[in-house]
């Protein structure tokens, strides 16, 4: 039986798709057969971030509507064994997502995959609701910034009331926080909410802290999940987060400013 994870946030632009791509890749790297599904119907982007945009023929909506078979729509990643992408439609709208249709596709996927990762669109409309409805685990992507934190709290409320697990009175969806775009230097200056502040407000366990990093843009430029950039702090932080998700005990890195040598201080270089 596969586990269904939703990567969600409420607010847009906080790093859901970047995190979905990285997380799915991380799970596959550890040997789990993983599929990542784009739920952002009409605003397809996971394909670009994963670097498979030119291989999309059929999509999630085609499968829901019976216009294509699941195997025709699934794209196998060229770099990583065990990793598949189910892109969404760029022309349809979110009404194309029906609960029955989504359920049918998830049931079929769960026969084959260890993990099904649902990349939620922003907002709390149909697309976002469908992406979280069947979830067993939720990863809440949050930036250390007021509007993102508030929207995350809102989406936690939605998970607790409108997910399948909530509606059927089952064990609740597990919720973990992924704090992204964290800048320890600004935190030290008192210009940014601390990890502990966000944890205190949202009151859910911390899965990982991803530092603000230029590697994220570089990776998306070339269609490579940032977790594959093992020289970058962001890539390492995602790798740690995947390990923690799987139950490993890993210390949090990159939460305090990195000590700068005399040379870089003289040059006023920032990492």
């Amino acid at each position: 039986m596969s586990k269904i994870i939703v990567m969600t946030s409420g607010k847009g632009g906080v790093g859901k798709t970047t995190s979905s791509a990285a997380f799915a890749t991380g799970l596959a790297l550890r040997g789990f057969k993983t599929v990542v599904i784009d739920f952002d119907v009409g605003l397809r982007n996971l394909d670009l971030v994963m670097g498979c945009e030119r291989r999309v023929v059929f999509d999630f909506i085609n499968v829901i509507n019976g216009e294509a078979k699941l195997n025709q729509a699934l794209i196998k990643d060229k770099r990583i064994e065990n990793l598949y992408i189910l892109p969404t439609s760029q022309t349809r709208d979110k009404d194309a997502l029906t609960r029955e249709g989504v359920e049918k596709v998830l049931n079929e996927l769960s026969k084959e995959f260890d993990y099904i990762l649902c990349d939620s669109p922003a907002g709390i409309e149909r697309g976002a609701l469908m992406s979280l409805y069947f979830a067993d685990h939720a990863i809440i992507v949050t930036n250390p910034e007021v509007s993102s934190v508030r929207d995350s709290d809102r989406i936690l409320g939605v998970l607790n009331s409108r997910s399948r697990r909530a509606e059927q009175g089952l064990e609740p969806v597990t919720q973990q926080l992924l704090l992204t775009r964290y800048d320890p230097e600004r935190v030290e200056k008192g210009e940014m909410l601390k990890v502990d502040d966000v944890l205190e407000i949202l009151a859910i366990p911390l899965l990982g802290v991803i530092p603000e990093s230029q590697a994220v843009l570089r990776a998306s430029n070339v269609g490579m999940p940032v977790i594959l950039d093992e020289a970058s702090n962001a890539g390492l932080a995602y790798s740690d987060a995947v390990g923690r998700f799987l139950g490993e005990d890993i210390d949090h890195r990159f939460v305090t400013p990195q000590k700068k040598g005399l040379f870089s201080r003289l040059l006023r270089r920032s990492a």
């Binding site: 910034e145 007021v146 508030r150 709290d153 409320g157 009331s161 210009e191 909410l193 502040d197 407000i201």
Partner: protein, 123 residues
């Protein structure tokens, strides 16, 4: 940087303000979320009925739902105006309620509770 700045108290960090503002707004939002959907409507309709008879301040009404294991209570607290104001109101409104207590209490409150045993409503 001037040496005098060194002794000056640092301005309050903006991150501290962010945290405080979030805590306040979210406490409010969470309280609103934990009630069932019909509470705001119920509150408005109750108010409309009472306002027909008594001059009340809309901000001095509290509707609260407490849910226990097999019994829920709905509590409605309405603060009535002081007696002078009440008099003015009853003059203006033909079917005004006459409060039984004539003490010059500055504030009066009507409390009511409705128990509905076994009520189950998912929120």
């Amino acid at each position: 940087m001037s040496i005098f700045n060194f002794f000056r108290a640092a301005p309050r960090a903006s991150a501290v303000q962010a945290k405080e503002r979030l805590q306040i707004v979210m406490a409010h939002e969470r309280a609103g979320r934990s009630g069932p959907d019909y509470l705001p409507m119920l509150q408005q309709e109750l108010l409309a009925v009472i306002a027909k008879y008594v001059n009340i301040d809309e901000n001095k009404v509290e509707v609260k739902l407490d849910r226990g294991g097999d019994c829920s209570t709905l509590e409605v607290n309405i603060e009535l105006p002081a007696r002078e104001q009440a008099k003015a109101a009853s003059a203006a409104k033909p079917a005004a309620d006459k409060p039984g207590n004539d003490h010059a209490a500055a504030k009066r409150s009507v409390g009511g509770s409705v128990g509905n045993a076994g009520a189950k409503k998912r929120i």
